[in-house]
Point group: C2
Chain length 96, copies 2
């Protein structure tokens, strides 16, 4: 299924900027960055629980937030991109 | 239907920061800010075309991007939030 992960990390402190880098780095292990704080991840429920757990432990839950959108399998007509750096279909780029 | 709007605006210039403020301000007319660059908008297709057209004309399509995710009507179990509650505007406090 396609899972969209979006995050807000408060970068007013050095610790916050470190959390932001960690979150972004971790997300790259699971999916495709389509915008600065938006990743599209093609993964099953097990992988999803895994990344959720990892990210939950990185963020400061009083200052930062994560959102997960479960787009299912039939997502191709549910996503539209306008402007720079168009995202591409993550299912086409998987190298196994 | 629920439409998720996410955006990346390049804020390296004053013009970019102005575009960012305009995009955010426009989005508040159509939905609920859930993260800094993520809005959830409950709207019909007409409204959606309207906001898309407005935002397309604000952004610099070589530097910025918009993404629209169409979550349909049955979206309640498709969204999960972790961490700080949405509803704050950090646009003015971003450290770039």
């Amino acid at each position: 299924m396609l899972v969209l992960i979006t995050y807000d990390v408060n970068t007013q402190t050095a610790a916050g900027r470190k959390r932001l880098r960690k979150v972004a780095k971790e997300c790259t292990n699971y999916g495709q960055r389509v915008q600065n704080s938006v990743f599209e991840c093609q993964m099953d429920a097990t992988k999803c629980r895994q990344v959720k757990n990892i990210l939950e432990n990185i963020i400061d839950q009083d200052m930062d937030s994560l959102r997960f959108y479960y787009l299912g399998e039939k997502y191709k007509n549910k996503v539209e991109h306008i402007g720079a750096k168009p995202g591409f279909d993550v299912t086409d780029t998987l190298i196994l």
